[in-house]
């Protein structure tokens, strides 16, 4: 005794068959989903990738920096500030420098002079040096090419000015945001000369903490004339980074919604055409006992399959496109979400045609030879 309900295998076999005949609506539907997916990648995916780079840049070393300086040189900014600042949570590193003084090679009194700055605090990550161990008082490191400028053949040797002496024991190279130090020499002060700092840099761990850390730093400063101190940070950067993300989300949501809507409408029109051109098949199946839900399912399966094929092709090409244009891959989540949404758009577009197909009158169809 037959059940009167087609088995799942039928839907599968039939769906594959109906992709091939008629072929044209299948090709067009796949292309619509493909083009829709690719458009999302070409606009939003590439935008997400490139704006991700902007965010990365904002979050880079420059963006996480607080600069405390004494422009007049009379505020009395003490090196003791450094210990206090280091203990503030969220601080990555602190480096203080004194005003620069010109030094020459002790062996060449009339030679070229270079700027030498005392530094306070530990050498932070952006400064790399081949010199092993901690610098002692009076020991110094030369920036790239600076030793040669001084006429130090081996890259090491004594330097001096009228009041002080120092020994260059190696070289260093500073990367962002400390590249301004590269043109000179940095030295550990000879003694606690009660040195006044010209400026120091505080790097925070996360751009979002810039404001609170800056507030804590200004409280922790050991200074004679607080009014003379200038604290510079990039207050807009944190906000900007937030704005970029929110703006991006809104733009992307709008673009994606628009594209999905267009895909749904096109697929709907296409499926209406397909239903009309295959009315004979639908009427025949209804006459042979297919229920309305079977017909609805068959139209939706067709739309879902063409949407899926188009979306997968679109994601693959879209990923390549993102790498070529933006030099970055959108995440797996983004790609999967685009594919799923594209299939959903195709299904939603096919709902009305599916209902129309299910409501066709088999008797009228059978009467037309």
């Amino acid at each position: 005794m037959n059940s009167g309900h087609p088995r799942p295998g039928y839907f599968f076999v039939d769906a594959i068959h109906r992709l091939r005949s008629p072929l044209v609506p299948t090709v067009v539907a796949v292309f619509v989903a493909f083009a829709g997916t690719l458009s999302i990648f070409a606009t939003t995916g590439v935008a997400i990738a490139s704006q991700q780079r902007t965010i990365d840049l904002i979050n880079s070393a420059e963006g996480r920096l607080i600069t405390i300086s004494d422009p007049q040189g009379d505020a009395g900014l003490s090196e003791r500030s450094i210990t206090a600042i280091k203990s503030i949570s969220g601080v990555d590193w602190v480096l203080g420098v004194s005003p620069a003084h010109d030094f020459v090679n002790s062996a060449l009194p009339g030679g070229t002079s270079v700027p030498v700055r005392n530094f306070f605090g530990d050498l932070p990550a952006p400064i790399s040096t081949g010199h092993p161990g901690v610098l002692g008082p009076g020991q110094a490191l030369a920036g790239p090419g600076v030793a040669r400028k001084l006429g130090l053949a081996d890259g090491v040797g004594a330097i001096e000015n009228r009041t002080e002496k120092a020994v260059i024991v190696g070289s260093f190279s500073a990367s962002s945001p400390l590249t301004s130090l590269n043109s000179g020499v940095i030295m550990r002060p000879n003694s606690d000369t009660g040195a006044r700092l010209l400026r120091f840099w505080v790097s925070v761990e996360d751009v979002a903490q810039l404001q609170p850390v800056a507030a804590a730093v200004s409280k922790a400063l050991v200074v004679e004339k607080p009014g003379g101190i200038q604290i510079k940070l990039s207050p807009d950067l944190a906000r900007l980074s937030g704005d970029v993300v929110t703006g991006l989300r809104q733009d992307a949501a709008l673009t994606i919604t628009g594209l999905l809507f267009a895909v749904a409408v096109l697929i709907g029109a296409l499926q209406f055409g397909r239903v009309a051109s295959t009315a004979k098949d639908i009427g025949r199946r209804r006459a042979l006992g297919a229920s309305r839900s079977v017909i609805v399912a068959q139209v939706l399966i067709n739309a879902g399959l063409t949407g899926l094929i188009g979306a997968i092709a679109g994601v693959l090409v879209g990923l390549v496109l993102s790498v070529v244009i933006a030099g970055q891959l959108p995440g797996f989540g983004f790609s999967a979400a685009v594919a799923v949404l594209m299939v959903l758009a195709s299904l939603i577009g096919a709902i009305a045609p599916a209902i129309r197909a299910a409501r066709l009158d088999p008797v009228r169809i059978l009467r037309v030879p």
Partner: protein, 215 residues
């Protein structure tokens, strides 16, 4: 299964006259009934009504002891899929599928497995002399062969009710004999209720169970 029509009338929407007026008849299980009458007298309409593809304007239809014309479309489709084999007035084949797949489709929709359906379909195509055409599409066979494919499709699910609307319209008299014999066998050997609409006066005369429609 006995099929009973009581006071059956059908009026197509927009039509001037009724296509069928107050017809009452009982179609017995295991018998073949010939429905005859001039063109336009409502033979096809009657078959569509009894096959639950149309809902009558008036009257009732019983399949066995079930009152079927009031059922929901889903249940009517299910009953049709389970029990009814239909040979349509035109063959109504899927032009994009082979003869075998056309026959198999009715089995699928009835809930048979692919293997069951294909095995039975091959047997039937063989039996009606078109086994060699199993892989051909309807556009690649003659009109009479297409009609026989349609007959095989009606028989594939071993239905308990068979409707045939002019099943021998395209056939020469030898082929027509084969089809008539198959339909009679379905009634006498399988116990199916067989209802055949035809203009064929020669054959109608010889049949014991008849229903004449007048326009």
């Amino acid at each position: 299964m006995q099929i009973q029509a009581v006071g059956l009338s059908h009026h197509y929407r927009g039509a001037e006259a009724s296509a069928l007026l107050e017809l009452s008849h009982t179609f017995e299980e295991g018998t073949l009934t010939v429905v005859s009458g001039p063109s336009g007298s409502g033979k096809s309409t009657l078959l569509y009504l009894l096959a639950l593809m149309l809902t009558p304007s008036l009257g009732s239809i019983r399949w066995g002891d079930q009152d079927v014309q009031a059922l929901e479309d889903t249940e009517r489709s299910e009953l049709r899929a389970k029990h009814v084999g239909f040979v349509f007035q035109d063959a109504v084949l899927d032009l994009s599928s082979s003869a075998l797949d056309n026959v198999t489709e009715a089995g699928w929709l009835a809930g048979m497995t692919r293997v069951e359906s294909e095995t039975k379909a091959s047997e039937l195509l063989e039996k009606f002399g078109i086994g060699a055409k199993a892989r051909f599409r309807p556009g690649e066979v003659s009109g009479g062969q297409a009609q026989r494919i349609a007959l095989c499709r009606a028989l594939v699910k071993s239905p308990s009710i068979i409707f045939a609307d002019e099943p021998t319209g395209n056939l020469d008299s030898d082929s027509a004999d084969v089809v008539w014999r198959a339909l009679e066998d379905a009634a006498t050997e399988e116990g199916a209720t067989v209802i055949v609409a035809t203009h064929d006066k020669q054959r109608t005369k010889r049949m014991p169970n008849q229903l004449r429609l007048v326009s």
